[in-house]
Amino acid sequence: MERDLIIKIAYLIASVLFIVGIKMLGKTSTARRGNFISAVAMLIAILVTLLDRQVLSFTEIFVTILVGSVIGTVIAQRVEMTSMPEMVAIFNGFGGAASVLVATSEYWRMAHDAGYSMEMVVGVTIIISVIIGCVTLTGSLVAFGKLKGLINGRAIMFTGQHALNAILFLGALALSVLVVLEPNVELWMMGVLLISLLLGVLVVIPIGGADMPVVISLLNSYSGIAACATGFVLNNQVLIIAGALVGASGIILTQIMCKAMNRSLVNVLLGGFGQTSSGATAEGGEEIVVKEVGVEETAMLFDSASSVIIVPGYGMAVAQAQHIVRELSDMLERRGTSVKFAIHPVAGRMPGHMNVLLAEANVPYDKLIEMDQINDEFANTDIALIIGANDVVNPAARTNPGSPIYGMPVLNADKARTVIVCKRGMSAGYAGIENELFGYPNCLMLFGDAKSSMTKVVGELKELMPA
């Protein structure tokens, strides 16, 4: 009894530390310590669980933890910051898979006790854990594949898709009832597992690449909910509390992402965005006439500017141009030009991705300004430099009700006195939509690779303003 009590108290301490850790994660100054505290909470939870009466053989446990820790550390140390979304996606999948495996293991143990009849509550929680965990696993794998380019990033749609999903879901529910009624027939459980795994694939394939930030956030939430359900299976409060925190976090981030794209969650999940829209833009008909600008002229414009706002997009990170952009910003600052970075909520491939990419390039975080705070400043700014971003500065979102992105909150970069767009070519953005900003009279196009263009601009500027 005493041992059980120690375990329970330690779990309580761990739960409190998780909450404190997340609270501290919400402030830049304390975030790193917050993450550490949450890791300590996890360590406490792991250590006291080893005291559990059911844990009798330790060798396999230690070996497995050691192997997992080594692999996890190596992956975490090596991953590129541009690849963070993939990493979070695959780790979500692992979390979901772990929940399914624990629930299935518990089911297996119980079902093999002779004459066992499953309690309704236990059965239902096992099923919830299995279904959500499986969907998280395969859904995350598909998201990983799309982000990495292993699978075509476009939305994959076919007729009857939603009907098929509905039928499969009902099938999984029917089998679930059988699992509870006849827990010793493993076939039913296998059926639930298989159908849920298939469902995970089917719900993510119709979602286009541009919507991946929403999907990752949602899967993050699912991995928490799966842990939560496993907590009900094992009657363990720390799993429920930690799972609920993660579930809430994922849901909030999902809402923020949906709002930033002016889409409803249902609309994202039904999928197909980015395919249908290509037809809508063709109706515009008018060819956009753009004005090109060279690197020398760009440097001269920067030389005479007194305020600059840089709008970075994922294209900048792909071109690995963030370091040279930071150099440009430092250089302008040294001569008294005000430089700010305007960050759209969906810049990058996951919530807050752009902030991490710029932090990696040593841009101080207080220079990164959120959309709502900076949007009014564009009108008083000499130059808006748009680098690797496209849809998030498309004025059609404000002005053209016919545009597929109409209503989406965008950065008002077009209001700046001069807009310089650094871009590889005239191709459309990730959402597959033309950008009418490029045809505006105050807009100049600097064609070429972001990194080499910016390097040249910085070189020219050095000549214009020595020391």
């Binding site: 909450i19 509550v121 923020i256 990696e360």
Partner: protein
């Protein structure tokens, strides 16, 4: 599990969710990626269940499932915390 302990667990769930919503809606966008990878690591709390499932002495199917769960949960936990720490140490204020 009796109805009473189920109700207790539901209380825990509901209250924890409220705490979660309160805390996380205040997190600024700058920290959204570390928040996500940090909470991702927390979702590896299933590791606790995995240890128990991998605990028995006899090599049953149930135990093997537990070991597999333990491996994935460890990856999730360790990788998640390490990468979050790596990101957060890059966040710097302007020096001066």
């Amino acid at each position: 599990m009796n109805a009473e302990s189920l109700i207790v667990l539901l209380y825990v769930l509901v209250l924890a969710s409220f705490v979660g919503f309160e805390l996380i809606s205040k997190v600024p966008p700058t920290l959204h990626t570390p928040l996500m990878s940090g909470s991702n690591a927390i979702s590896g709390i299933t590791i606790v269940g995995a240890i128990v499932a991998a605990g028995p002495e006899d090599m049953s199917v149930s135990k093997w499932l537990g070991i597999a769960a333990l491996l994935l949960a460890t990856l999730n936990v360790v990788g998640g915390y390490v990468v979050t720490d790596r990101m957060l140490q890059m966040f710097k204020k302007k020096k001066k």
